[in-house]
């Protein structure tokens, strides 16, 4: 069998009796068959909805009747909508806490794992929260952080500090949501960075050691630059994921107290599904989409996540 394949160009094309045409043409029919189901799903539930979403954002559309074209009126209304700006501010706060806390904790954890603990068991344990639904993480912490009889407030009280209304106070509502998300993602992010650390050739560290570099120098001059593609990816995933926070808020605070945790996606949900204002909701979704695209673009550009320094 193998002897027949000496010629690297032997992809089988010579042996198909079909015709003298290029193979590229003879595959079309069968390719159509293989791709048909995915194509249906892609067209119906990704492509058309994307275009329709953009269209709807220029219309006035309550679920009854037909969409009515109103130009950019939705966007103009959003520009002066205090609830939108509040949602943007609150969501940004959430994203910021997540980036800083999650990346720092995960980076530290990954380095520690790289040094001392490479066992699958430990990695598995750290990954466990990530495998749980957001709703589960939310309820679990809703109980642990309960003001009256939650175990965390029990300890806070026992150490003589005033109890914290994690979900019930305006200043804690968003940090609490961010902490839950950090808890859920910390191990996962650490594993991603850990995989990146594993790919750094050890001889670089040996050379640095021989040259008398301090651990700090090694970290900033070798580890961080070579980790950059992984860190860029982690940052993008974190930012894009956090901008779309919904589940934990929907299950616990419902946007409250007052507007303290009314994050962007929850606001969109309320506009579209509670107030049946699909046009306005779609315009908000377009803005969220645009923000994510810009963030991803900037991060890709400045962190140069695409190319590695190793090559």
């Amino acid at each position: 069998m193998t002897t027949l394949n000496k010629n690297p160009l032997a992809t089988g094309r010579q042996f198909t009796p079909a015709s003298g045409k290029r193979r590229g043409q003879s595959d079309v029919k069968i390719a159509l068959f293989f791709i048909a189901p995915a194509m249906i799903g892609f067209t119906l539930f990704y492509l058309v909805p994307t275009l329709r979403g953009i269209y709807l954002s220029f219309t006035e559309y309550s679920i009854l009747g037909d969409p009515e074209w109103i130009g950019t009126a939705n966007y103009q209304a959003i520009a002066t909508d205090p609830l939108f700006w509040n949602a943007l501010a609150v969501t940004s706060q959430y994203v910021l806490i997540n980036i800083v806390l999650q990346t720092a904790l995960a980076l530290g954890l990954a380095i520690l794992m790289h040094r001392v603990a490479k066992s699958t068991l430990i990695r598995g344990a750290l990954l466990l929260p990530y495998l749980m639904a957001n709703v589960i993480a939310a309820l679990l912490w809703f109980w642990l952080l309960d003001y009256q009889i939650g175990i965390v407030n029990y300890f806070i009280d026992a150490f003589g500090f005033p109890k914290v209304a994690f979900f019930g106070s305006a200043e804690w509502a968003i940090p609490t949501q961010a902490l839950i998300n950090t808890w859920r993602h910390m191990g996962y992010t650490a594993l991603l960075i850990f995989a990146g650390l594993q790919s750094i050739p050890s001889h670089l560290y040996e050379v640095a050691n021989l040259d008398g570099a301090s651990p700090m120098q090694t970290f900033w001059r070798i580890t961080m630059p070579l980790l950059r593609p992984v860190l860029a990816l982690v940052l993008i995933v974190t930012v894009i994921g956090s901008f779309q926070v919904f589940d934990t808020v929907a299950v616990t605070t419902q946007g409250g107290p007052v507007n303290a945790s009314r994050v962007l996606q929850f606001y969109i949900y309320q506009k579209a599904f509670t107030e049946s204002d699909f046009g306005y909701g779609s315009a908000l979704a377009v803005i969220l989409f645009a923000i994510l695209a810009i963030v991803a673009f900037i991060q890709m550009k400045f962190l140069k996540g695409n190319d590695s320094d190793l090559d």
Binding site: I30, A31, L32, T50, R52, L112, L128, L140, W143, L144
Partner: protein
């Protein structure tokens, strides 16, 4: 074990097994230990609370063992208690039945996983092995959809499902994610590209058609990554909340995540039914926990791949 009767072990294995004690290593271990504890201990607290009597939780806030051990919370969650019993134990008395939610979650996650993985494998084969015009353009389009936030397509998709008359049907819940996921196609295409073509070419010589090659060569040879992908997809679908919340609000169609949300909002204000809530949470988490215990290594090892290609 086999070395039990051997004379005193030589020095080499000892030094290999134990590195010298240093404060830095110990410190590192302690920090890793804290991280593991923070990840795992909350789950113990869920189990402990689920096995407690709701009324006794307040007076035993810090007791490590269940407060007045009692399976009532589980009975309540599965709808096995009468309204009076449930009220007496701190429940809302509202009818709740997690059997239905569990069943719906199993159907929803299994159907979408089976469909999405299979159809994505077919598409990945077309992208990796067949030659046709526009292949790269279509593939980039598919990839680009990974960038579109789910909420953005959720609004029009909701309208579409509604217009099709499929609101509050399992079909309506399943349809948008049963044909493919961009990630699955990307993941499998990458794997197919790296597979050796030799066997396929030999089969091609024997006159095998693409269908046979796909089913008898590609699928069996790629069973390991397909299993990993199926596992990850299943867990993702099991945890899905937003879409089922939009389309499957009906009591008879709620999946576990949606049911949990409803159960939480029904819980009496001020004095929530914590044991009931934690029992429900545990039931929702259990299937994933079991999958994780069986396939943990597969899942852990997949992280490097999905992250950095």
């Amino acid at each position: 074990m086999t070395t039990a009767h051997a004379p005193a072990p030589s020095r080499a294995p000892i030094t290999r097994r134990r590195r010298p004690f240093t404060w830095r290593r110990t410190g590192a271990w302690i920090l890793v230990g804290i991280a593991v504890a923070v990840s795992i201990l909350p789950f113990y607290w869920v189990i402990r609370t689920a096995l407690s009597t709701n009324g006794s939780l307040a007076t035993n806030a810090s007791n490590l063992l269940p407060a007045d051990f009692n399976l009532g919370a589980f009975k309540r969650v599965f709808g096995l208690q009468t309204a009076e019993e449930a009220l007496a134990e701190g429940g809302s008395g509202a009818q709740i039945n997690f059997w239905i939610y569990l069943r719906n979650s199993v159907i929803f996650a299994s159907a979408t996983t089976a469909g999405a993985v299979f159809f994505s494998a077919m598409a990945a084969y077309a992208f990796a092995r067949l030659r046709w015009r526009g292949r790269n353009v279509v593939f980039s389009l598919f990839l680009a959809t990974m960038m579109v936030p789910p909420i953005f397509t959720a609004l029009p998709n909701f309208l579409l499902i509604k217009n099709m008359g499929l609101l509050n049907t399992m079909l309506g819940m399943v349809l948008p994610c049963i044909f493919m996921t961009p990630f699955a196609i990307f993941f499998l295409r990458q794997f197919f590209l790296n597979m050796s073509r030799e066997v396929e070419e030999a089969a091609m010589l024997d006159g095998a058609k693409h269908l046979r090659i796909f089913f008898q060569i590609i699928m069996p040879n790629a069973s390991a990554p397909i299993a990993t992908l199926a596992l990850l997809t299943f867990i993702g679908q099991w945890n899905e909340y937003f879409w089922p919340l939009l389309v499957g609000q009906d009591e008879s169609l709620r999946v576990l995540t949606v049911g949990l949300g409803v159960f939480k909002s029904q819980s009496p204000q001020g004095a929530p039914d914590w044991s009931g809530l934690m029992a429900a949470t545990l039931i929702s988490a259990l299937p994933v926990l079991i999958l994780f215990m069986i396939f943990g290594k597969k899942i852990v090892n997949s992280i490097g791949f999905s992250g950095i290609k």
